[in-house]
């Protein structure tokens, strides 16, 4: 359960560190430049995530979020700059060994419906991250059970195919899969954008509790500022491939300094004009007398 106003005391040990990273894609253009042209998607990114810290990378479409994510996951060598994950320069490590480091990142992809192989049962999906570990079958089964317990899914789900699951359940499976091998970092790519609001709330609460329980660093990539404020204490705001603002979440929402951050914040604030004030002034769900906990 999310604790209002609390910040996890982050140790100073950085788990992810990006220094002056520029990355992007090569495109062939025109006749004269049959050699390909580099189109940067992110430029000069400096980023640090400390152990146990919760960071949100906030940006709208085209801001370079996905590229940044790929760089961190070891999938896209940057043109320039250092990418340090868990103390290792991952792009100095040969590509075939890189997975030893990057598997310490538990990754939850964007669209649960599209990210799950429809031909694999949940059990197989869950076992994937454990494939290259030297755990015994029994230990593996144990791990999978634990992970399912954390995401509040019943074990019977292991026999299901993704098509038999609802969107919320699929997302839980993906989260369970990301934490099953006990990673140091949890990387979430738009974890709630494909979900309905009521499910979104469940997942947000779940992620908060996971962070608390497993004490790992949690990086959330999202375009949704209100969601981000639940999932992160620190935030960076990406705009057209550069970081335009970074700092504590609350600070950014209260006093956005850059033009873009201000636009972002006001577009959410003004969008809720009536409702927000209602909530603050009259308390949550005034129409219902009894407060209940689940």
């Amino acid at each position: 359960m999310w604790r209002a106003g609390s910040t996890v005391t982050a140790s100073s040990k950085p788990v992810i560190e990006l220094k002056n990273v520029t990355a992007g894609y090569y495109t062939a253009e025109g006749f004269k430049t049959l050699k390909k042209v580099f189109k940067p998607a992110i430029t000069k990114i400096d980023l640090k995530v400390n152990d146990g810290e919760r960071l949100a990378i906030i940006g709208e479409s085209g801001s370079g979020k996905t590229t940044l994510l790929r760089v961190i996951l070891g999938l896209l060598p940057p043109l320039r700059g250092d990418v340090v994950v868990l103390g290792e320069q991952i792009y100095r490590v040969p590509a075939r060994l890189r997975w030893r480091i990057t598997r310490q990142i538990g990754y939850v992809p964007q669209d649960p419906a599209k990210s799950l192989n429809p031909r694999l049962r949940v059990a197989e999906v869950m076992a994937e991250p454990l494939a290259r570990t030297d755990l015994s079958e029994k230990e593996k089964a144990e791990r999978i059970r634990d992970a399912l317990r954390i995401v509040q899914l019943h074990e019977s789900i292991l026999d299901y195919y993704p098509s038999q699951l609802s969107g919320g359940m699929m997302q839980r499976v993906l989260i369970a899969r990301a934490i099953v091998h006990d990673p140091e970092i949890l990387l979430l790519d738009e974890p709630t954008s494909a979900l309905d609001v009521s499910i979104q709330a469940q997942i947000i609460n779940l992620l908060c509790s996971i962070h608390e329980k497993l004490e790992l660093a949690m990086v959330t990539v999202t375009h949704d500022l209100p969601v981000a404020q639940y999932l992160a204490d620190q935030a960076v705001i990406l705009y057209r491939g550069t970081i335009v603002e970074k700092g504590p979440m609350e600070e950014i929402i209260a006093h956005p300094r850059s033009e873009h951050a201000r636009l972002l914040v006001t577009s959410y604030l003004s969008g809720l004009n009536g409702l927000d004030r209602i909530n603050r002034a009259e308390g949550v769900s005034a129409g219902i007398k009894r407060e209940t906990q689940r």
Binding site: A28, E29, G30, F31, L34
Partner: protein, 341 residues
């Protein structure tokens, strides 16, 4: 123009590589297969000097050189457009190929001029009447059409026509052509007749090309109808089609300007593939209808150890595939403004 130079360069490079591969492979297969081209080149000599003549011929054809040199030499020839002199006909291979290609192309072009609009039309009709008897009929009819062996169909059409006293043999009525002074300029008789304003020959050529074209068209009609129906079924549910309906756009415009337009890219792609496939069909059918096209030459050239002609033919077929592919790409880019090559 939606085609970039970059695409062109890549495409040409890719084509050259493909054709070079085809040349090398076909040369090796043909030269190493039984039958001595030198004998044919020397004219099947039978006198006392036969061995000498064949030896000379072997030298002339370069068959006495090491294989890799032969291949290199042939590659050089192929890419300078000089495919040499046909061994069986003692005539430049390129000339023979062009005549054959023209005949086959004419047949294919007519077949596709019939097949694509017809197939697309009935496919659209079926999609608009989904679940009705018409849909079922079109569906099964197109399945049958797409799977009828073209060779069989060609023979059937020929037999029916000849027993009913109508002829569809050859490319043009010889006597008519002579009487009206028809001359072949490009080898595409329809075009030639038009250029010469020779309408009797034009109609005659058309009439003779029509029955074999029908046989060749069967497969693409079936394929196009099925593909169009499937694509249309999806297209009709597309957001922009739905919006157009909601905005009150007329049914005809919705069907043709909106939904059908969306199926065109897929249709072109499938037709492109089918076109290449139909080349083989056309080769078979023209044999039945007494038309001198690529099909007959391929058969004859293998029979007469004419490796030069056979290789030339294979290059033409490869080129044909490459072109059909490129054309499909380009048409796709023309049809869909989002596609840039």
């Amino acid at each position: 123009m939606p085609v970039s130079l970059n695409y062109l360069v890549r495409r040409v490079g890719w084509s050259i590589a493909t054709i070079a591969g085809v040349v090398i492979l076909s040369y090796l297969v043909l030269v190493l297969s039984p039958g001595d081209p030198a004998v044919k080149w020397a004219g099947n000599p039978r006198g006392p000097g036969a061995a000498k003549a064949i030896e000379n011929a072997r030298k002339e054809l370069g068959l006495d050189q090491p294989l890799y040199l032969q291949v290199l030499n042939f590659l050089r020839m192929a890419f300078t457009g000089d495919l040499g002199i046909s061994i069986a006909y003692k005539k430049p291979v390129s000339e023979i190929l062009w005549r054959g290609l023209a005949a086959t192309l004419e047949l294919l072009a007519l077949a596709y001029a019939i097949a694509i609009p017809l197939g697309a039309f009935i496919g659209v009709m079926a999609s608009l009447r989904r679940g009705t008897w018409l849909d079922g009929f079109i569906q099964s009819a197109s399945l049958v059409l797409a799977n009828t062996p073209t060779f069989w169909l060609g023979i059937a059409i020929f037999m029916v026509l000849s027993t009913s006293g109508v002829t569809a043999y050859g490319r043009v009525d010889t006597r008519l052509a002579l009487a009206t002074g028809f001359r072949s300029i490009t080898g595409l008789y329809l075009l030639d007749a038009l250029v010469q304003l020779n309408f009797p020959v034009f109609l005659d050529v058309l009439a003779r090309t029509f029955p074999p074209a029908l046989a060749v068209a069967a497969y693409p009609v079936g394929v196009c109808a099925r593909v169009t129906r499937a694509l249309m079924a999806d297209a009709l549910l597309e957001g922009f089609v739905q919006s157009a309906v909601a905005w009150g756009v007329s049914r005809r415009a919705v069907v043709w300007r909106y939904a059908f337009r969306a199926t065109l890219a897929g249709l072109v792609q499938v037709s492109g593939l089918a076109f290449a496939y139909s080349l083989v069909d056309a080769m078979v059918v023209e044999y039945v209808f007494g038309r001198d096209g690529l099909g007959r030459f391929l058969f004859d050239s293998v029979n007469t150890s004419d490796f030069r002609l056979a290789t030339g033919l294979i290059i033409v077929v490869a080129l044909f595939y490459v072109l059909a592919n490129t054309l499909a790409d380009i048409v796709q880019a023309l049809v869909d403004p989002r596609v840039k090559l």
